[in-house]
């Protein structure tokens, strides 16, 4: 039993930072898993360079993983870390400016060599020059203590022993925040099942780190964060990409369709391909295509044959897929296109987040080419949005673009598991019989005869006798689907395709507004991954006394039917976006409402504090204006 003081905290933000090769993502992942099992609510933000191994010890090579956990509902990975674990000078330098004074810094002193310090421009070690005096610095010779702890492993080289330093750090942090390590031990046993010596070394380093915390006098206090109050249920921790993959599988199951993924590797979407490729047991077919175009083409071919065709990509890939998505619009077949957005333009910032593909998703094709667009708001919501995308695609026989992003893709949060049987029933019915008669009274099939309610055309798959027909990208005559260059028919078909997409609004939930006092004058409206930061900012603003309403769009095309009415209810509408105001542009154009953009494209999610200030200023300016009116 520890004889040290144990202090209770309500929330902690930890950032693990090190060289790309230091295993910080794994360390963060494991700490997160331990935290999830303990019942804290949490949110994570991995942040890593695009280079697989940037030069060692340099600023571009710094990889970090931030975790925010609490005994209450957590909305973001946290603005500023309470604790920074810095595995080298570069990690310290790259992250120091994010640290509030008073934060704790655990540094690996072994890496603070003259050479490493000079690589990042430190003339003198910041550990010695007093520049860190406002912080609680714990200098720990992480590498050498870890190596020392593995002295009995005579089969291992020094380099191999050094590699276990991340497990030592994890052990130390596990002690510091009273996290159980059983889960990590099980994980390591599975990971190194074939390498018993490496396994034992990692376990030894992990335990040594824990024991170091217990015994060293440098750490006099350890902390506890009690489990959060969460709705009853069974939970797991999930990243957006995994939730999206699982959502697609569950939706295909509920639709009774085989799932086919055609995809080309691209950051940050590749994990969906990896996840689905491992689910053959569930009937999932995945194909790594020769390029982005072939990926979506194969998916569309599969849809033509009656499968649920899916393709996954990021912004540059969406650009390449545009023509095929246009074909799918013309063919009126279901197709799911998942765009895991990243910083742009061009290759941009592959590993950083942004939500600047909204207009590309809506309008990035030739001609009038409407598609449904949905966006998840949190990592766990990626599951529900996948199910919703499949519902829309199969019901309306249309491509649906899912706009996730790097923040949701790699970030994680606890997810209360749904019951498959309670997911919406989206069973698809294929056409089985001719649906019309010709001049001679013979039964014929009209591939573009529409359902009067949804305007969807029949999904008549090859292999169905009597329904042989041809589809294509040339304009078709309504009903018969024959090639038609008739001007009136083209006008009619263009409007029909638009009306079909507009009609989806009839089956989506109205935009809900969270306005606890019921008398807010300012509305903050977001979409996609900004949900967490906006909700956290609104919470901060309310604590400070501001009356503010919040709403969040998950459907971007069409918008919920009441969107215009909601916008007009407020004196000021603030729209924060990680782009230069794309949703704001749409809202202004469609509803003639003078919404205000607040934008940031730093490759990182908004900080709640920053948004709270924006909200507070807006609310205060209105109060001032009201006071003046009253005074007059």
């Amino acid at each position: 039993m520890s004889t040290k003081l144990v202090q209770k905290l309500d929330r902690v933000v930890i950032r693990f930072a090190g060289d790309s090769g230091d295993g910080m993502q794994l360390t963060g992942d494991r700490f997160t898993s331990q935290t999830a099992l303990l019942g804290n609510d949490l949110s994570t933000l991995p942040n890593f360079p695009a280079e697989i191994r940037a030069p060692q010890g340099t600023l571009p090579g710094v990889s970090s993983f931030q975790l925010h956990f609490a005994d209450h509902n957590v909305l973001t990975p946290g603005d500023a870390p309470d604790v920074l674990v810095a595995m080298n000078p570069a990690a310290l330098k790259a992250n120091l400016r994010d640290l509030p004074r008073g934060a704790t810094i655990i540094v690996n002193t072994d890496e603070f060599t003259k050479r490493n310090l000079s690589k990042v421009g430190y003339a003198e070690s910041p550990l010695d020059d007093g520049s860190l005096e406002s912080y609680h610095v714990h200098p720990v010779a992480l590498t050498s203590i870890a190596v020392e702890a593995l002295a009995s492993f005579t089969d291992l080289t020094r380099k191999e022993k050094e590699r276990a330093k991340n497990m030592f750090a994890l052990g130390l942090l596990s002690w510091l925040y009273t996290r159980p390590m059983d889960g990590t031990e099980v994980f390591l046993k599975a990971k190194f099942a074939d390498k018993p010596v490496i396994l034992e070394a990692n376990l030894a380093a992990l335990r040594a780190g824990f024991n170091y915390g217990e015994t060293t006098e440098d750490f006099s206090v350890s902390y506890e964060v009690a489990p959060a109050t969460m709705a009853p249920g069974t939970y797991r921790n999930v990243t957006g990409n995994v939730a999206l993959s699982l959502g697609l599988v569950a939706a295909a199951h509920r639709a009774h369709l085989p799932l086919f993924l055609g995809s080309y590797p691209i950051t940050p979407a590749s994990d969906i391909l990896h996840t689905l490729a491992g689910l053959k047991r569930y009937g999932v077919a995945t194909m790594q295509a020769e390029d982005e175009i072939a990926g979506v083409g194969a998916a569309l071919g599969a849809s033509f044959g009656g499968a649920l065709g899916v393709t996954t990509t990021s912004g540059p890939g969406l650009a390449l897929k545009a023509e095929t998505i246009g074909l799918a619009v013309s063919l009126e077949l279901p197709l799911i296109v998942c765009d895991i957005q990243r910083g742009g333009p061009s290759t941009g910032l592959p590993t950083k987040t942004e939500q600047a593909d909204l207009l590309q998703a809506l309008f990035g094709r030739n001609g009038e080419s409407p598609v449904a667009v949905v966006a998840p708001s949190t990592p766990a919501d990626c599951f529900e949005i996948a199910v919703e995308a499949v519902r829309i695609a199969t019901t309306y026989r249309t491509p649906v673009i899912v706009l996730s992003d790097g923040y949701l893709a790699n970030g994680s949060e606890p997810w209360r598991l749904p019951r498959t049987a309670e997911l919406p029933d989206i069973t698809v019915e294929f056409a089985t019989e001719p649906n019309a008669t010709d001049d001679k009274g013979e039964p014929v099939f009209h591939p573009y005869l529409r359902d009067p309610e949804t305007l969807a055309r029949p999904w008549a798959i090859p292999g169905t006798p009597g329904l042989e027909h041809r589809v294509g990208g040339i304009e078709k005559a309504d009903v018969t689907g024959n090639i038609s260059y008739d001007p009136d028919n083209h006008d009619h078909m263009t409007r029909l395709r638009q009306a079909k997409i507009d009609g989806i609004a009839d089956t989506i939930a109205p935009l809900e507004v969270d306005d606890p006092t019921g008398d807010a004058d300012v509305l903050v409206l977001g979409w996609g991954s900004t949900f967490g930061p906006i909700a956290a900012a609104v919470r901060l603003a309310r604590i400070a006394g501001a009356r503010v309403a919040q709403a969040h769009l998950r459907h971007l095309n069409p918008f919920p039917a009441n969107t215009g009415e909601v916008l007009r209810r407020y004196e000021r509408v603030i729209v924060p976006e990680m782009n230069l105001g794309q949703l704001a542009l749409l809202l202004r154009a469609r509803y003639l409402v003078d919404v205000e953009s607040h934008t940031s494209v730093r490759g990182l999610p908004f900080q709640a504090g920053e948004l709270a200030d924006v909200i507070a200023t807006a609310v205060a300016s209105l109060s001032d204006a009201h006071l003046k009116e009253t005074a007059q």
């Binding site: 053959k280 849809s303 589809v471 990208g473």
Partner: protein
Amino acid sequence: MTTDLGMPLSPSGAPGATGTAGVPRLADGTALTKKDFTSDQEVRWCPGCGDYAILAAVQGFLPELGLKRENIVFVSGIGCSSRFPYYLDTFGMHSIHGRAPAIATGLAATREDLSVWVVTGDGDALSIGGNHLIHALRRNVNLKILLFNNEIYGLTKGQYSPTSHVGQVTKSTPLGSLDTPFNPVSLALGAEASFVARTMDSDRQHLTSVLRAAAEHRGSALVEIYQNCPIFNDGVFDVLKDRTEAAARILHLTDGEEVAAGDNVVVRDDRGSLDVVPRADADPSRIVRHDVSAADPSAAFALSRLDSPDLGHVPMGVFRNVQRPTYDDGLREQIASAQTNEITDADIDALLAGRDTWTVGNPAGS
């Protein structure tokens, strides 16, 4: 070298299976006719276009397969040839430029019960769609790819194509084309194609026999069809249509037979490639006998290099026809061997839960 993936073979993917194994057949005693494969759409190619002859040959050939009509699909790209699906009363898709092999791959991979055909042209398949073509061939997807080669862009009105000759004067090359053309057969063989053949629009009997062999083959089959464009490249293959000229120029590829045309015969030369020499001068031990199923594609490739720009010698027939695992069968087999039971809601629940769960409170029902 191949790696044995240790997968059980499904009946349709078993060694020796034909290209249409797994596709539902007509009941015994019933048959379809050419008329059954003729759609009600008015054919809109230019008068005299070689496509008419190919269409008639395909419509005439399809009943021979004995397959249910609804299980046959034609997928095309963009170009004159790609209008083909509209005129066949099967399922069909007229897609976008160059992408038909990719789209057909997704269809063939998910539908074992379909006979999937791709119709494309020299511009569609070799220019904008070159990447998809080589990858479909490399994967050996069970697709039959009919490449109509007229050495010109027809639909866009007469620009040079990737098979046009160096120096060819067209609307976009008024001083003559500078591009070295592709030899579609060499390209396909270089892309590991398991079946490669060449035939001609005007020789219905030969065309039909090649279609038959292609349909029989399990895996990708690339059939290059010399096709005349009467508007923008008229007469480009005329010398092969004249009976006397053809006899002297066409090197017929018949399995097990000597490769010869008229008085000339193909021999192995000292440099390890092939040459066409008068039979009288040929060393009998060097005369090439065609081996269509040779595992090494080098011999077929050497034959494909006998083409000359002036059509002095043109090999015709099946260059290569070998068995190797197909992508679509492999994909289905991986799934089949991973699946242990019909997937239930409980299976999906278990998948969603993963391995690290925790429970809060007393969830309803537990």
